[in-house]
């Protein structure tokens, strides 16, 4: 019926104009047939020229996954996912050499340009307001669908002894390190999605910072989902040795799609004595259109372990995208005096659903954790903060401070706070504060009287609300995150 087509077109146009990153790159792909079975896993493993142990590992995870069922406890609803109806491997056919940008498919570079990915320093510096001298260089490892195609700043990192490469490469070149740590923080059987990831992961990053080394630059990976119907399963492993430190940035965008796309990443962090890992994410995957059609399903398992004494793991995330987000970056605080931090902004608009939060597991003495979670809901969206603070019997002197603030825009959205606190140690001190507020008419009117449009006013107030989290982001990301917050709330008032 023409009327239906018209409506669809109109809706699509709306989506096009509101999602800035919706485009598709025309690059020849090497794709596995749809479906998931042992043969597909063997195919992935052979395409990646993996050693035998890796294949065995994958197959074992696949067996585990087959015996599991999808979790249903999160406060999100979505139609059942047909895991046989997706491609589990897609790679650009003309595989560019990773050594120099000249060898990279120009079409791909144009995609990066459209994305605003800072592949080389010039682009990286463009549009960012940081005074000279305060800037830290950023190394980018870009993941284009499943294969990491370009790694920059490799040399500087090599000189410092830092390994930063696609995980598929690490499997081949640093097998001992990968074998030693892979799956130690998030075992394959941890949950349904981590098992799936362990069986079929195609790429992601590997970072190793040796003893005493402060990584000389911020490491950045841009994930991007491009091909139709490819679930993306990155696997990231970061190991930081005694007294070493690293700051890692992860940014994600995806072009627009009609079908929902599954994304189930696993990130593992390991910090030894006095080591520190800062992991920042800005996630703006396609959230679906105004009616919730399309959009990414984002089921991610992120976990870090503070193995060493006085080690520190800090998660900062700004989540504005995806149709459904299911994500709980967590810290296992094992080393005495280790520190876990979680700073989060989650924005939902239209029909988006987010169930996100963190887990802080205090195992060691005098471990400390801080949770600052800001939730912004607009439209008919629904957002849940779900957090667990667990103090084990040996964790004397453990401390946690949790602050959950929700901001509602309009009266059709929902925000929920679900804090679980389990303390098995009398000495632990756990503080929890929660607030829910609305953007007041007074505030909007005040801003508009000063000349700001309603949307700019909302953007300003929302950014103010998120300030405690945004200030934890590296400068480059903070600027981007502020713009994103505003874009993702467009049309939410008035």
């Amino acid at each position: 019926m023409p009327a239906v087509t018209q409506t669809r077109e109109a809706v699509e146009k709306l989506g096009q104009s509101t999602y800035k990153w919706g485009f598709e790159t025309d690059i020849e792909m090497d794709m596995a047939p749809k479906g998931l079975n042992e043969d597909i896993i063997r195919l992935i493993s052979s395409r990646k020229e993996e050693p035998e142990w890796m294949l065995e590992w994958r197959l074992a995870a696949y067996k585990t996954w087959q015996a599991m069922t999808e979790p249903k406890w999160a406060k999100v609803g979505y139609p059942p996912i047909d895991y046989q109806d997706a491609h589990y491997y897609a790679a650009p056919l003309k595989k560019p050499g990773p050594k120099s940008l000249d060898e990279v498919d120009p079409e791909l570079l144009r995609t990066y340009e459209k994305l605003g990915i800072p592949l080389h320093e010039q682009a990286m510096l463009a549009g960012v307001e940081v005074p000279e001298g305060e800037r830290m260089p950023v190394a980018v490892d870009a993941v284009f669908d499943s294969v990491s195609v370009a790694t920059t700043f490799r040399k500087t990192l090599e000189e410092a002894g830092v390994i930063f490469c696609p995980i598929s490469e690490a499997v081949k070149e640093h097998p001992d390190l990968v074998r030693k740590y892979l799956g130690t923080v998030v075992p394959a059987g941890d949950n349904f999605f981590s098992a799936l990831n362990s069986a079929v992961f195609t790429d992601g990053s590997f970072v190793y910072v040796p003893k005493g080394v402060r990584c000389p630059m911020e490491l950045s990976t841009y994930f991007r989902i491009n091909a139709k119907n490819t679930g993306q399963f990155e696997r990231t492993l970061i190991v930081v040795e005694e007294g070493a430190s690293v700051s890692y940035l992860e940014g994600c965008t995806a072009p627009m799609r009609d079908e929902n796309q599954l994304h189930a990443a696993v990130v593992e962090l390991v910090a030894m004595d006095d080591a520190s890992i800062k992991y920042s994410t800005v996630q703006n995957w396609y959230p679906g259109d105004e009616d919730g059609r399309g959009g990414i399903y984002n089921f991610v398992t992120k976990r870090g372990i503070c193995r060493g004494a006085r080690s520190k793991i800090s998660w900062t995330q700004v989540e504005t995208g995806s149709a459904i987000t299911w994500k709980y970056p967590s810290c296992i605080l094992q080393g005495e005096g280790s520190v876990g931090e979680f700073y989060s902004v989650a924005v939902t608009n239209n029909r988006q659903q987010a169930d996100t939060g963190t887990k802080m597991i205090h195992l060691g003495r005098n471990t400390r954790s801080t949770i600052i979670a800001k939730t912004i809901s607009a439209g008919r969206s629904d957002s849940t903060y779900r957090g667990l603070v667990r103090v084990q019997p040996k964790a004397s002197g453990a401390r946690n401070f949790t602050q959950c603030d929700s901001l509602l825009i309009g009266d059709q959205c929902g925000a929920h706070t679900v804090p679980y606190i389990e303390s098995r140690n009398m000495n632990a001190r756990i503080e929890h504060e929660a607030t829910t507020s609305k953007i007041s008419e007074d505030q909007l009117f005040y801003c508009r009287q000063r000349g700001l449009s309603e949307e700019d006013a909302v953007g300003l107030i929302v950014n103010g609300f998120c300030r405690d989290v945004l200030k934890e982001l590296p400068m480059e990301f903070a600027v981007e995150a502020q713009k994103l917050l505003q874009i993702s709330l467009e049309g939410s008032v008035g």
Partner: protein, 256 residues
């Protein structure tokens, strides 16, 4: 008839718990360019409501009357359009914006009106220089620019911050709603000087106050007395002194 600000028969009501409450009951007021007019009147007579209605607050429903600014129908404009057109309201109770840096807020506002007025936007450096100078002229501590908008400001600091915003936004018509309340004499003089610096043949102000003291510094052109949602009496500067000495009761009785 002046084409600057013309208010005629303005009536406005508010929906208070499902009940329509009439507040403005036919306000007539005309302010020519270059003049400072004053509104005095007992608490609850509708002075703040008038300023909100002129600035475009949507909670108040205008049920009758007109208001034009430079011949334009003010009541049809969005609040931000009124701001861009040159209208500024110094709030009786300035609003707090948690987490929003004052300088950043001011710069966003200044650039928004500059854009709307067809002027070039100011970069961070140029803006900060201008803002620091303006703050200094108002004897404001430099750290006020770094703090969050009105959060934790004392009453006096909030009022000065309003005048700072006014200075930077360069309005042609400013409404000051009890900006002098709660200020000590020195602060009062500083605020008055802030207004006087804007005085020009193209600038007018509507000053809502209870006190003669501010008027000693401002030297107004006309005084209006408001009661029960209407301007009941207008006169020269001497009217303010009379009210200051004798109170409102006598005047209210005369018109009742």
């Amino acid at each position: 008839m002046s084409q600057f600000l013309e208010i005629s028969g303005l009536c406005a009501q508010i929906d208070a718990d499902g009940q329509e409450k009439q507040i403005l009951r036919g306000v007539d007021l005309s302010i020519p360019p270059g003049e400072v007019h004053v509104i005095m009147g007992p608490n609850g007579s509708g002075k703040s409501t008038l300023s909100y209605v002129l600035a475009g607050r949507e909670d108040y429903e205008v049920t009758a009357g007109t208001a034009t600014f430079h011949g334009q129908n003010l009541l049809a404009m969005e609040p931000e359009e009124r701001a861009a057109a040159g209208l500024f309201l110094a709030f009786q109770s300035p609003i707090e914006l948690p987490g929003v840096n004052n300088a950043n807020f001011l710069r966003t506002a200044v650039n928004a009106v500059r854009r709307a007025r067809g002027l070039e936007e100011l970069d961070a450096v140029a803006f900060l220089k201008m803002a620091r100078e303006a703050a200094k002229a108002l004897s404001m501590a430099p750290d006020m620019l770094k703090r969050n908008v009105n959060v934790g400001f004392s009453g006096g600091e909030k009022k000065r911050n309003e005048v700072l915003q006014m200075t930077l936004l360069q309005p042609t018509f400013a409404i000051l709603d009890e900006t002098d309340s709660g200020l000590d004499v020195d602060a009062l003089r500083i605020v008055a000087e802030g207004v006087n610096r804007l005085r020009a043949p193209t600038f007018s102000a509507l000053v809502i106050t209870h006190h003669q003291k501010l008027l000693d510094y401002l030297v107004p052109d006309r005084i209006h007395v408001m009661a029960r949602g209407r301007i009941i009496l207008s006169g020269g500067p001497e009217l303010a002194r009379q009210i200051d000495q004798e109170g409102y009761t006598k005047f209210l009785a005369e018109v009742a």
